[in-house]
Each structure stands twice: as structure tokens, then as C-alpha cells.
Amino acid sequence: MNDDDLLRDLLTNHLPDPPSTPAPTGLRRRAARRATAAVVATTVGVFAAIAVSTVALAARGDEPPAPADPFAQLKLELWHGGFVTSDDRMIIIEFESVCDGARDVRVDERPDSVRIALVGFPAVDVSLPSLLITEHCTAQVMLAEPLAGRVVIDAAGGVPRTLVRQSRELFPTYPLSITTHDMNAFDGPPDNGLIWQHHIQWDKRYLRIAQYEKDSAGGRVADPAVREVPVRGHLGTVYVDATNSADPSKAHRIQLGWTEGDQRIVVGIEESGVGDAEAMLAELLKVADGLR
């Protein structure tokens, strides 16, 4: 066997078995989980340039005829979750764009429901996705009337979508399980073949930050320097999400979140260039303390 055959055998016949979770029965159940993405995507300003228009239905008589579907002739695409602003007037939907053309968001407001249509105008054949074309996008829709408990429906599939309500001008998200992600890591930028890797580990009242020096093949070449940062709260209430960029020209960002009742609060701090993770985290904890 040559090298190719050996690798093919290793990566085909020696993979671990996946956990015994069944395949989802449809796309609908994914809306709740993806909401987390939109929170951060919104935080870092990843907005699609989307033209938004509102189609408000005119007032009708007592026995209105069945309204024509305003989206009947349009190519609709699925969107999969979103938010309602605290004033109950703006809906932010999220979707995956493959940059294959323009998109428009249209709204059909009715007394008991709000149908939101993501309309696609494909310009190119997207049968072969490329590395550069996938992007998570959000689009804002301003309602003519407050949502007031009306059901929000994705016009593409005709299914209701559960939206997350914003509060305190921060973005709550669905609770995440800290117990399954009790250690997070992020890589620093390559520096002469070295990669600085930080591990942040939640250990009850401390965040343990370990900084490794690694070679380009990923092997550790030095013992980590470990420091601890005390935090308030208790296990399960504080969640730390830390990233920085492989591109040194990009910002270094750390986020921290916690749960208040059924709300989830996420705050972040960002620094240009190669940041000092510990200083940023300490600063972030001060901010979090002020908000809690």
C-alpha cells in the first residue's frame, strides 16, 4: 500500500462511531440552534446588504375574499430563525447566503400572522459552491404594526419560526451546555512557523488560560504558562467563548456570556492586532460585572 492507500484506509475504516443521535427528521428543528450564530454574527456586524420592503395588506371588509399570495410567482428561499427587537417592531432574520445573486426580503402582515419571504434572484449557477461564497447573513424587517404575539412564518416553507426576543439592548440566545464545552481553545497567528495556542478552561470559579507554543505541525514545543482568572457566578451560569483571528491584521476578540432566567446575555471585547488574552478577559469580566 502506498501513502494514499494508507491514509484512505485510516480515514475510512478507523474512524470512531458517531454518538447514537438519530438523523433529524426535517429542517424545521434546526431553527433554535442556529440562533446563536446570528447573535455573534450581528455583534461583529456581518450584515447582508438587503433591500427590505414591506407589503402591508389593505383593510378589508367583513367578508374578505381569500387574499392572493403576494409571493406566488417568486423564488423563495428558507430562512431559519431570527430576533424581535425589544420595541416589537423590527424582525431580524438569519439565513445562509451563497452569494449567487441578490436577495430581497418581503413581508405580508396579517391580523394573526406575519409571513416573511426571502426572495432570491440567482445570477450564477451555484451547483459548485466555492470557498468564498458562503456567508451567514441577517436582514432587518420593519413591521407596519408591532408584532404583538402574531405568528411569524417563513413563507418559503409555510412553517412558523421561533424568534428570540432581544432585551436590554443585548442579544440573548439559547442556553448552551457548558458541560460539553468545558474547554475552549483558539489559535494565535503564525509567527515564524510557531503558533501560539491558548486554552481557556472553565473550572468552577476560575478560568484557566494556558498558552502553548506549537510548531507548524501542531506539536507542542514548550510547556504551557497557566494562569487563573477568578469569575463570579457558579458552574453553568457563565459561558466563555474565545476566539481570535488567524490573520494578524484582524481583531482579537473574546466573548463572555451568562444566563439570566431564560435569557442569555453575551458581551464581547475586541482589540486590533495580537491581543493580550488575559488583559482582554479581565476587562471583559469587569464589563460583565457591571451588567449583572
Binding site: 474512524l15 458517531p18 455583534t43 445562509e96 459552491p129 470557498l131 489559535d187 466563555v240
Partner: protein, 170 residues
């Protein structure tokens, strides 16, 4: 057509989840990644399946897995990453298949992201070097160098070396 898609997901889920795991090194992240890729695939399912006997939905989904994984990383919102050292590691028994799997997970977690993507596309999805290069937007030479470095890194592990050394070199 939606029923077709649901049937495909039900049948392909385990093998596609393994593909996603090769990229993420974490089953939970792999499930998130795969679900996102399937949402994108569903949008184009008519073209992907299309009643065409040459249609290769697995190949399409795996390409979307890679591009989605890359876009996740570029967006920086997905802070969690597989750890360098997996918890509760058991002592290696080189002849035990479970140890090989555990060692593989540990080794993959230490590889740079693009090397993992190359390994998944080349040796799990069975694409050519040219196809892999096209999807990742890199040169064929880079695909080769990533493969070589990844193979070298895997061979440095005692628990995997036996599977990655040619017969004549043992």
C-alpha cells in the same frame, strides 16, 4: 421532493456526520456543521438530486461542509474548538482498535484546519488532488504539501504509526 431529501438525510446522516467530525474533531460541532450544510443543500436539492443517476449528493454535501466550516472560522463566532488533549485519555494499547480511534481523534485535533480539510476531501470523500484544490481555493502543490505534513504528523504518534508505515518499511 422534500420527502426524498428527508429520506436521503436519514440514510446518509451517519456517514456525513463522520465527514463533519473529521473537520471539527467534536461530535456536537460536527452535528451543527452537518445540519447547517444540509440546510444549504436542501435549498438546491432539486439540482443536487435531479433524478440524475450521476448525481452525487454526498459529494455535494461534503463540499458544503468544507465551505461552511471555513466560513464559520472566518466569522469567528464559533469560539469552541477541539482541545489539543482530549480528556480522560486511556493508556495506549497499540493493538486495540479503540485506541487507534482515540489516537486519530487526538491527532486530528492537533492538525491545522486546512490540513484536516485536505485529509477529509482527499481520503474520506475520495476526491482527486485537483478537485480538492479547487474546493479549497488552493494549488495542487499546496494540497500535496498539506497531505505530506499531515501524514508526517500522524506518523509521529505511536498509536497510529503502525497503520501508516508501508509494509517494506516496517
Amino acid at each position: 421532493m422534500e420527502d426524498d431529501f428527508d429520506r436521503y438525510v436519514a440514510a446518509a446522516w451517519p456517514r456525513l456526520l463522520r465527514s463533519a467530525w473529521l473537520l471539527t474533531g467534536d461530535w456536537q460541532l460536527a452535528e451543527d456543521l452537518l445540519q447547517t450544510a444540509l440546510i444549504k443543500t436542501a435549498r438546491h436539492w432539486n439540482r443536487v438530486a435531479d433524478g440524475n443517476s450521476d448525481a452525487n449528493p454526498d459529494g455535494y454535501v461534503r463540499r458544503v461542509l468544507v465551505t461552511t466550516y471555513s466560513s464559520w472560522w472566518r466569522r469567528k463566532w464559533r469560539g469552541e474548538r477541539p482541545t489539543e488533549r482530549l480528556p480522560e485519555r486511556i493508556d495506549a494499547d497499540h493493538n486495540d482498535a479503540a485506541d487507534v480511534r482515540f489516537g486519530l481523534a487526538d491527532a486530528l485535533a492537533g492538525l491545522p484546519r486546512q490540513q484536516r480539510a485536505v485529509l477529509m476531501l482527499r481520503y474520506h470523500a475520495d476526491l482527486t488532488e485537483a478537485q480538492t484544490a479547487q474546493i479549497l481555493g488552493i494549488g495542487i502543490g499546496t494540497v500535496k504539501s498539506h497531505t505530506s505534513r499531515a501524514l508526517a504528523a500522524l506518523r509521529r504518534r505511536d498509536d497510529l504509526r503502525g497503520l501508516l508505515i508501508k509494509e517494506g518499511d516496517r
